[in-house]
């Protein structure tokens, strides 16, 4: 999935970083605690958050995130936008709640779940 795919799925608004919409998104982190995100091991991930300050961009930059998604249609603070432009990290505003965003994206991230029935419960009756 690319950042562009994610924007489409969430019907999001790209605040900055349109030139990076082709970037890959391989994982997701959804949190309002940046310390939590800093302990996240993955790279090239989408950071979903309800925070709007410049520290979301610092965190994304330091951990190598592909983009930032701010949920509930909150405006990022001007300092955050400026920093995101300087560091080349797209910020996307999404109307949905964190929960809805996560649900939508988890379905998108595993498209085969609906098509291929799981062969679970092998010992079942």
């Amino acid at each position: 999935m690319t950042v562009g795919d994610l924007v489409q799925a969430l019907e999001g608004e790209v605040v900055c970083g349109e030139e990076h919409l082709g970037r890959a998104v391989n994982a997701f982190a959804a949190s309002d605690l940046l310390s939590d995100v800093l302990a996240f091991e993955k790279q090239d991930y989408a950071l979903l958050t309800g925070l709007t300050n410049a520290q979301i961009v610092r965190t994304a930059d330091i951990t190598g995130a592909s983009c930032i998604v701010i949920v509930r249609n909150k405006q990022p603070q001007p300092a955050a936008v400026a920093l995101a432009q300087a560091s080349g990290i797209p910020i996307i505003m999404a109307r949905c709640t964190m929960f809805e965003a996560c649900a939508l994206l988890s379905r998108l991230a595993e498209p085969h779940d609906d098509a291929v029935p799981r062969t679970s419960n092998p010992s079942g009756t």
């Binding site: 605690l33 940046l34 310390s35 939590d36 300050n53 520290q55 930059d61 951990t63």
Partner: protein, 326 residues
């Protein structure tokens, strides 16, 4: 005179002794036989930039004719006569293995513009010709080469030092929440530009960010140093207090004294110190109410990946202690 000038003059002087006539002389010499006329030579000198020419008789140097001699021949009306009739035969020569200072002394002593160069002292076997400007240009060439060598050496030295030790220092003010992460971001950029592998840079950057944040949120201000060494990156974060009352408690994941305001900004989850420790290969923290808190975190670079015994290949004894503190 400054010391710098004195050194330069001494260098030139030394070079004048070192450079042999052989190195500075011109080897392609236009010569004439004694049977040539002054006019022959005059026409030749007019075409070339030379101001004199040696006279060679069957391989033996027998004289030298300069522009001066030609003017004298004009005056005397013997311009079309063979030179052997009037040419002076007392010849000053310089052997090729003499230093250019010897040649320069001869120029000075006799007031000549050029000297025929012979193979050995006392020989009349012409091997070249030397002028004062030959000496000067060779000297400049040599000085240039020395300068280039010195410059190249200095460049290598600087590059080496750069590689050996890269030092970043950040002053961190308390309550500067908006500036938090600046030091971490700058550190990240610098380490990446120095070729430190990205996953290791990320670990260092996270360490810096959390350490920076702690100084901002919990202390009266401090500083952070990042040292890039050949085998590791060292982060030192120190502040002026008030210190951590219970270090063991502070290290526990989730322990925090941060208030709601800080939590609303996304920090104060009590995850900072544990995460710093997790990201570091070596971690050491001390804190006292008097001296404040000092944290040291080291990330080892690939050249010093821990050996099978689990001890890094190249740590000094003092650092081993730190490593044991984990």
């Amino acid at each position: 005179m400054t010391q710098f000038h004195e050194r330069q003059i001494r260098l030139v002087h030394e070079l004048m002794y070192q450079i042999k006539v052989r190195e500075a002389m011109t080897r392609e010499v236009v010569t004439f036989p004694p049977t040539a006329t002054y006019r022959d030579i005059q026409l030749c000198l007019k075409r070339s930039r030379f101001s004199g020419t040696p006279i060679v008789d069957e391989g033996h140097l027998v004289g030298i004719v300069s522009i001066d001699d030609i003017i004298t021949a004009f005056d005397r009306g013997c311009i079309d006569e063979p030179i052997q009739l009037t040419m002076t035969r007392e010849l000053v020569t310089v052997p090729q293995n003499y230093s250019v200072i010897a040649a320069s002394n001869l120029f000075h002593k006799y007031g000549f513009g050029r000297l025929p160069v012979v193979s050995r002292p006392g020989s009349d076997d012409l091997v070249g010709i030397i002028t004062f400007s030959d000496i000067l240009s060779h000297l400049l060439l040599k000085i240039n080469r020395i300068a280039e060598r010195v410059e190249a050496h200095e460049r290598r030295l600087v590059a080496h030092l750069d590689q050996q030790r890269d030092h970043l220092h950040f002053e961190i003010a308390p309550d500067g929440f908006d500036r938090a992460g600046v030091a971490a971001t700058l550190t990240k950029r610098r380490l990446l530009s120095r070729g430190v592998p990205a996953p290791l840079v990320r670990r260092v950057a996270v360490i810096c960010y959390e350490a920076e944040m702690n100084i901002i949120l919990h202390s009266l201000g401090g500083f952070m140093d990042v040292d890039l060494l050949p085998d590791r990156v060292e982060v030192t974060a120190a502040d002026e207090g008030p210190g951590i009352a219970d270090l063991e408690k502070a290290m526990q994941p989730g322990f925090t004294t941060a208030n709601e305001k800080i939590r609303a900004l996304g920090f104060g989850a009590g995850m900072g110190l544990p995460n710093i420790k997790r990201c570091a290969d070596q971690f050491h923290i001390t804190s006292s109410m008097e001296a404040g808190t000092e944290l040291q975190a080291t990330v080892l670079l690939p050249s010093a990946v821990p050996t099978a015994a689990g001890v890094p290949a190249s740590v000094s004894p003092s650092e081993k202690e730190v490593a044991h503190d984990r």
